[in-house]
Amino acid sequence: MSKVTTLEEAAASIPDGSTVAIGGLSMNSAPMALVRELVRQQKKDLDLVAIVSGMAVDWLVAGGCVRRVLAGLVSFEGLGLAPNFRAAVQSGQVAIEEYSEHLLICRLQAQSYNLPFMPTKAGLGTDVLGLHAESGAVREEKDGPTGEHYVACTRLPVDVALVHAHEADERGNTRVNPKLVWMDNEIVNAATRTVASVERVVDTAAFTAEPERTTYPRFMIDTVAPAPMGAYPCSSFPDYGHDSGFFTEYSQAARDRETFTQFFQERVLGPETWEDFLAVNSVATGASA
């Protein structure tokens, strides 16, 4: 039974109110084609887990899909703040659950390793820990024998992880070329279910020919959605880089509400298919072949 489906169906399988973890790091390797489809389908009340993110979170917030963001960092790096995320948090429209990168990673690891907590020294001595005093999601502890301080990061259940990769076969074997450098495997391991968008579907023989290059075995990937240039406007190393022009235009449009609404509709949500979206944004798909 093939795990390959469309972006539309993959997104449709994610109910409102889900906890959705978004792969990639900052402007790199984010599953933008899947994210766009979630926004188009007007998902509601999503809790987003995004270790270090930017445009993906901003689209979902702009689309009104988000209840809460669990993140270490959301920005466009040197190209500015993520404008809709910023505005929504400032107005209280979207809740933020504040972490550092490693605190969030350790919560994901506690989940995937089936442990009550994972320890780290991350966050000690900062104001991040105080924000979790009531929930106990992460808590400062002192080791009995040594007296050393550490932070116990409790399990973080994730309903679905969305990641972008280069190639998958129909069975779900998936790989990132030339290798996974970011931390997507942390969300894949923690999630109940994983949807991978891929640049292309290949035969299983491509995996058996170079089994050392497989990133996720078939039993870790539930759904495969083909999406050439599927991380655009973010990068998918080494095939294509992020499109700074898109980030800049997006940020400029966001200075004015009406301008942004129009930009978002024309440039992001309006195009019917992912291929239409790429065409509207003048993206050549040859680069990913």
């Binding site: 900052s26 400032q90 001595g125 900062t126 931390m183």
Partner: protein, 265 residues
Amino acid sequence: MSTPVLGYDCTIDELMVVTFSRAMANDTRAFNGAVSFIPVCGYLLARRTHAPELVWGASSIAVDADPDEIGDSTLSDSLWGGASMLSNSPFDFWSYAQGARYNTFAFRGAQMDAYGNVNNTVIGPYNAPKVRLPGGGGMADLGAMIPRIYLWSSTHDPRTFVDQLHFRSGIGWGDGGDHRERMGMPGGPQLCITNLCVFDFEPSSKRMRLASLHPGVTAEQVQDATGFEVVMPDGDVPTTAEPTAEELHILRTEVDPTSARLREF
């Protein structure tokens, strides 16, 4: 965007990079985060001059990278050319970071306090922020794990250098004194390099202390631009050393020919 340094044949971004570079010992094993153009230029320059064994993991991924030029993101693959290893974030990088196999990291923040703690989370009250900033990212992690921390700022003013952070996103020397040691954290902030001066940290209080003044800047100007009381050293404050022609030549033609470093100004 950047201004010439009075009496030196360079601009302020160049002086900051060269000063950063000179602080890097040959046994530096560094990596970088987002929007870190000054440190990235500093690592590359140090490796090409006095610290040939220096390790730099570009974006925390690409070890010994040697890019032709620096793009508009210091987290992206445009920085990875010539690397001898592409490491993986969870498997490799966090192992090396937690165990301080990487020994050097640099960060800046929208606010910094006298102890080198930084805020990159909110301006204003946390629950009703005036400005929601990106968040601390790896600062809270790496501040606690890495022994040699360097700070920098291209906006030395009282809004950046504050007495009280609105939020402590990343730890420097914490509450000062032996706070880090008590928490089991190695080392701590070594220097803070700004567009006006260089701070080191007074050994017992761990507060920022004026180490050198850039040409034309006075100690009074630094104090006026700083929201906390600056520790003054015993004796005269030296002037920040002048870059050599060789350093400037390498920076301008080999390390950063497109002046990506100006993105911080």
